[in-house]
């Protein structure tokens, strides 16, 4: 295991060292100490390594992640795992706004709460939140899954496309064109699989499903006069 102490090493040095790793590297385990809320930690990884960050991180941690598995033992700032392509990013504490924003693939697990705009414009990522999410989560979500074991704030799934939202707790309000849909056996199975991948214990039968009413995202010829 390589241990990098950020009280001795700059974020730029750390990130450049990780970016320099070949896909077949033997240096597969990394531990980062003293992150102290710095921004853009381990952003842009693109090899299958495992990174453990001990402490609280700032903005855009593990952004654009590809193939790597990143565990944050702490709280994280805005935009954790934004634009994640593949791999896994796990936050043991709470997350700030826009967790997993515009993610294309992979898995994001927030064991605590995530704030506003969780999964905004997600494009294929799966996000599992152990706690609650703030307002405007799943805004314009295109595809992928957002699982919320707690409650969801105002305007969940506003202007949603084809992403699928599962919420166990209360939904404060649904956004435009987002509706509740039937929790069919296929969805129970799919949700059970997501919870198992995330390692979060919850009964999939207690969740409700939300998705697009598909009335907003296509141009409707009857609305031509409105333009």
């Amino acid at each position: 295991m390589n241990t990098i102490d950020l009280s001795q090493t700059s974020v730029r040095e750390l990130n450049q060292r990780l970016h320099g790793l070949a896909p077949d590297t033997n240096e597969r385990l990394w531990r980062i100490l003293n992150p102290k809320g710095q921004h853009a930690l381990v952003a842009g990884l693109n090899v299958p390594i495992e990174v453990q960050i001990d402490g609280h991180v700032g903005y855009y941690c593990a952004g654009m992640n590809k193939e790597a598995k990143v565990v944050i033992n702490g709280h994280c700032g805005v935009g954790v795992a934004e634009n994640i392509m593949s791999g896994e990013v796990r936050v043991k504490g709470n997350a700030s706004q826009a967790a997993g924003a515009s993610g294309h693939g992979g898995l994001v697990v927030i064991e605590g709460d995530a704030s506003a705009r969780c999964g905004i414009s997600m494009k294929g990522v799966d996000i599992v939140v152990g706690g609650s999410v703030g307002h405007m989560s799943g805004f314009m979500a295109q595809t992928g899954h957002l699982v919320v074991c707690g409650d969801a704030g105002q305007s969940l799934g506003d202007s949603i496309y084809e992403a699928i939202l599962y919420v166990q707790g209360k939904v404060e309000s649904l956004g435009a064109d987002c509706i509740e849909k039937e929790m069919t056996p296929e969805h129970i199975e799919r949700l059970a699989g997501l919870l198992a991948r995330a390692g979060i214990k919850a009964d999939p039968h207690r969740f409700r499903r939300y998705g697009s009413a598909r009335k907003l995202y296509n141009f409707h010829v009857d609305h031509a006069d409105s333009y």
Partner: protein, 302 residues
């Protein structure tokens, strides 16, 4: 962009280190606000009959002793003055309103940055580290303090335009964001007899909250009313005699993070500013919810 920080000590044993911790927090927000910085510290209470004013004049050689002497003579009161950079803390054995009125009339070149019985306000242009050193922040003890690092968007970069803004005794406000209805609100408050010292939108917010509390609202009620009347983006941290409060607008575009242990509660725009507080590894850390009023007070902590 701006950075704001607040630290409220629940454990009185930490009070000697208040300034040192706030200094680290303030410097942590340098990238969010390199134009100017300001702090309000709650400490060194004066006698019940006394008040203290933190006054500012650009000139570091300003004759504070002379002015204080005239003030004492005019009010028939004992006056003590302590110079710090281009600020002076003036302690007067008289009512705070009388002392401020006298200064406004006879020395309009002096700006009173803060007043009350506990609060001292220091603000200046320059990097947070420079401002903290100039006013020897790390040596200040106290129960709670708030700070601001400014990157101006709405009005000029001057000491007067820096935060915190004071609008009532021992009350001050720091703001990250911008208000869109501050001109109307300023007019509305002027019609109710309030006077303004700058064209800064954050001063409007400070005076608005002071106005509501002057009407009898509690701190929490005043902030609740602000959710209705203030339009724009904001994360506010407000200091009062016995506590501090945090409020974000309903959209919550401006960042904020709260951390709490048995010993303290801290607020900052970003976690970077909290990273060196004692015991932060084990703190409960979360993002304050939009449009929710958070308050802490010394009575609750006791």
């Amino acid at each position: 962009m701006c950075g704001i920080v607040g630290l409220f000590l629940k454990n009185p044993e930490l009070r000697p280190q208040l300034g040192a911790h706030l200094k680290t927090m303030l410097i942590g927000m340098t990238e969010r606000g390199p134009d100017s910085a300001g702090i309000a510290v709650y400490h060194r209470p004066v006698q019940p009959t006394q008040c203290k004013l933190t006054a500012f004049h650009r000139d570091t050689g300003y004759p504070w002793r002379e002015v204080a002497g005239q003030l004492g003579e005019a009010l028939g009161a004992e006056v003590d003055v302590e110079r710090k950079g281009n600020h002076a803390v003036i302690t007067v054995d008289a009512a705070e309103a009388d002392a401020r009125a006298w200064i406004a009339r006879h020395h309009p070149e002096v700006r009173v940055m803060g007043y009350g019985q506990l609060m001292e306000v220091y603000k200046d242009m320059g990097l947070p580290a420079e401002v903290a050193c100039k006013y020897a922040l790390d040596g200040m003890e106290g129960s709670h303090a708030i700070g601001h690092t400014r990157m101006a968007t709405e009005s000029a970069v001057t000491t007067e335009h820096s935060h915190p803004f004071t609008a009532a005794p021992d009350m001050c406000l720091v703001h990250n964001g911008s208000l869109s209805n501050h001109n109307n609100l300023r007019k509305w408050l002027r019609r109710r007899g309030l006077e303004f010292e700058t064209d800064n939108d954050s001063e409007v917010a400070a005076r608005y909250f002071a106005y509501r509390m002057g009407e009898g609202a509690s701190l929490a009620e005043a902030l609740e009313a602000g959710l209705r009347d203030l339009d724009g983006f904001y994360t506010f941290t407000m200091g009062t005699r016995d506590g501090f409060a945090v409020l974000r607008d309903g959209i919550a575009c401006k960042p904020a993070v709260l951390a709490e242990t048995d010993d303290w509660v801290a607020m900052a725009s970003e976690f970077r500013s909290l990273a060196n507080l004692p015991g932060v590894e084990k703190a409960n850390i979360w993002e304050p919810k939009p449009a929710v009023v958070y308050t802490w007070s010394l009575q609750e902590a006791a």
